[in-house]
């Protein structure tokens, strides 16, 4: 039972990171009905921004400011940098394609991914960077219930993810911008007729989604240590799976999907075999899609004629 608890914690923690990435996919899909396949690269960039902020502040072992402040600054820089990049990507790669076929943005996104990965390789060098969280946070502290331990970074990741999700939900459902986003999601032309600046709304959507990706990047750095140029590919795939599992376009769905995916992986790893973790996660996903084609919390599709 304790072993189960241990694996559950592992799953929930990774699930938090997946959920944050999934939120970005879901938000953009919800508003524009297209998959921003370059999202994982923004996550990677966020992780690097966080890392270099940490280095600039003196590095993991000799920070010039208190640890909490340092982590705060890392998050702000990563989210801000991610948001700016996301807006630039939207402006360049997606806006010219807004009214074209569904496939064109996919290829554009792949171009953006390739460009960002290799720009990172050029600028940051090929070496894998390590966050070395253990040097500024005592990983042996934190809560422990029997054998189940939850260290401070793990708590931070889960709580941070939940807070960001709650904030996002409030933003979408309670603010003017959120209302504009929902309007654009339903019908762009009608939104324009109602005086909504579609371009501006889309820019904000990208900024928020990409900021979340940046935050997820820092979180995964703190949690997992290594940061490299290609970490976005699989993280993107995972986040995207989580979004689909929960029902793409739905914010609670993305959260649910992220946590479910993380827990599935941990349990498969724990009780079966790590090599089959992805395999079984994908299998579950396909089964869910076959039973509920729009994901767990997705709304059924209405074919527009």
């Amino acid at each position: 039972m304790e072993y189960f608890g241990e694996q559950l914690v592992n799953g929930v923690v990774m699930g938090g990171v997946y959920a944050l990435i999934a939120l970005g996919y879901t938000l953009i899909y919800g508003v524009l009905q297209f998959l921003n396949l370059a999202h994982g690269e923004l996550y990677m960039m966020g992780a690097f921004f966080g890392f270099f902020t940490m280095t600039a502040l003196g590095g993991p072992s000799a920070s010039a400011v208190p640890v909490a402040v340092m982590i705060g600054i890392m998050f702000i820089v990563a989210m801000g940098g991610g948001a700016l990049l996301g807006v630039a990507v939207e402006r360049f790669a997606y806006r010219p394609l807004r009214n074209s076929s569904r496939l064109a943005p996919l290829i554009s996104a792949l171009g953006v991914s390739l460009f960002l990965q290799n720009a990172a390789l050029l600028l940051f060098g090929a070496r894998v960077r390590l966050y070395d969280t253990g040097q500024f946070i005592d990983l042996r502290s934190g809560i422990s219930i029997g054998r189940i331990r939850i260290d401070p970074t793990e708590m931070m990741v889960v709580i941070g993810a939940l807070l960001l999700m709650a904030g996002l939900w409030l933003m979408v459902n309670r603010t003017r911008l959120g209302r504009a986003m929902r309007a654009v999601a339903v019908d762009q032309d009608a939104a324009v007729m109602n005086g909504i600046d579609v371009d501006r709304t889309v820019v904000w959507t990208f900024a928020i989604a990409s900021g979340l990706a940046g935050a997820a990047g820092v979180m995964s750095g703190l949690l997992l240590y290594p940061v490299d140029q290609y970490m976005g590919v699989f993280a993107g795939l995972k986040g995207f799976s989580a979004a689909v599992l929960g029902g793409i376009g739905s914010i609670p769905g993305a959260m649910l999907g992220g946590f479910l995916l993380g827990i599935t992986e941990a349990l498969v790893t724990g009780y079966l075999n790590p090599t089959y973790a992805d395999f079984i996660a994908f299998l579950i996903l396909i089964l869910v899609l076959l039973i509920r084609p729009r994901g767990i919390l997705g709304r059924p599709a209405i074919a527009k004629v």
Binding site: A126, Y225, P226, D228, V233, P274, T275
Partner: protein
């Protein structure tokens, strides 16, 4: 008239730009030579003038982009350094040709035809992965082109299928038993978990270690993990409290550090023992072990200078770079000898490659190949990491 003038000026500007591109581009392959430090120039000036100027191209096959870029870029930079050093010392004009394979056997196979078709290329450093070596083997052996890998450790590669293949690192068949013996004997472990990363590198070592452990009577369990696995907390949770050693077979040392830190925070007594892929500054949790095919090159007098210059020019390095320096040296020296003998073609270089003898290489010992292309006197060294993460030789 006006329009024509305008056209002419535009054309001129365009021509100037294109020409500038050519001027810059033509030097690109040798630009690393230009970046070589001042001592290079002075050494060149003092070299005897009567010796024939030897030269030729050497291809470097490595994952320069893609998921394994951290390995490939380090390998490329060590090859650059080796060529610069050699050219400076011998006033030769050897040049490098980059060949990016992304650690994909398919791309390596295509690139092997490109290399074979470029008659200026007299030898190849790489490719990095074992499956890449099997993919390029047929093309290179048909062309009689010698290739020296610095990181392909699958023992099967030197079974005679690839007559022009050499490697400067010992195979898994050496590393596995050495490590297992140490784990069973010196550490006295009773129970071991082997984390097998599903790559051609990880699979080979994991198998040979597990077999050797079983032979030594140590209980062991192999846990296979996919290459793109990000979190290892769940794998570490599987490691029982009675496990003494977790043997890891990652290519990227950062992952070994992840496992080590995860063990620390979960309060388990097991220590991490990394294969040679983990021999890098990134793996630094005190009390861990790591094996390597050479004594720490930073501690070898012959290598101190190379290591220092590499760090100055390109930053920190791990385990897969330094052997590339030696692999490049072996080709350069073979080419130089072939050139002196007046046979500086592929066949001449290949013949001389078999006579390679690098005395006091930066890997610590002398480097020579046996009849199958494996390095002679292969031996593995084992280090324990102290509290600051620095490796201390223990065997």
């Amino acid at each position: 008239m006006k329009k024509r003038l305008a056209l002419g000026m535009g054309g001129l500007a365009a021509f100037a730009m294109v020409a500038s591109g050519c001027a810059g581009g033509s030097t690109s392959t040798e630009s690393s030579a230009a970046a070589a430090s001042a001592p290079a120039a002075s050494a060149a000036a003092s070299a005897p003038a009567e010796a024939p100027v030897c030269g030729g191209s050497i291809a470097v096959m490595a994952p320069l982009t893609g998921g394994a870029a951290s390995i490939g870029q380090e390998q490329l930079n060590f090859a650059k350094l080796a060529v610069d050093d050699f050219n400076a010392a011998n006033s030769s004009t050897y040049a490098l040709v980059e060949s990016d394979t992304q650690l994909d056997a398919g791309q390596a196979s295509t690139q092997s035809t490109s290399i074979v078709s470029d008659s200026a290329i007299i030898g190849v450093v790489g490719p990095a992965g074992s499956q890449e070596v099997s993919a390029v083997g047929p093309a290179f052996s048909e062309a009689g082109l010698g290739f020296v890998s610095a990181s392909a450790t699958n023992p099967d590669l030197t079974n005679g299928d690839n007559p022009t293949f050499f490697r400067v690192v010992p195979t898994d068949a050496v590393q596995g038993p050495t490590d297992a013996e140490f784990i069973a004997g010196t550490i006295g472990a009773k129970k071991v978990v082997v984390i097998e990363e599903k790559t051609d590198y990880g699979t080979g070592i994991a198998k040979s270690v597990a077999d050797a452990l079983t032979a030594a009577g140590v209980a062991n369990e192999v846990i296979a993990v996919p290459e793109d696995k990000k979190s290892y907390d769940d794998v570490v949770s599987k490691v029982g409290d009675d496990v003494d050693v977790v043997f890891v077979t990652f290519q990227v040392a950062a992952k070994s550090e992840q496992v080590a830190q995860s063990l620390v925070k979960s309060g388990k007594k097991a220590v991490v023992f990394g294969s040679d892929g983990s021999f890098s500054g990134d793996f630094k949790t005190g009390g861990s072990y790591v094996s390597a095919f050479a004594p720490d090159i930073k501690g070898i007098p012959a290598a101190a200078d190379v290591a220092q210059r590499f760090s100055d020019a390109y930053g920190e390095f791990g385990t897969f770079g330094p052997p590339v320096y030696v692999a490049t040296q072996s080709i350069l020296q073979a080419a130089q000898r072939a050139c002196a003998a007046g046979a500086s073609d592929r066949a001449g270089v290949l013949a001389e490659l078999k006579n390679t003898n690098i005395a006091g290489s930066i890997l610590g010992g002398d480097i020579a190949f046996d009849a199958m292309g494996d390095v002679n006197g292969a031996k593995f060294y084992i280090f324990k990491l102290d509290e600051s993460g620095a490796p201390q030789l223990v065997q």
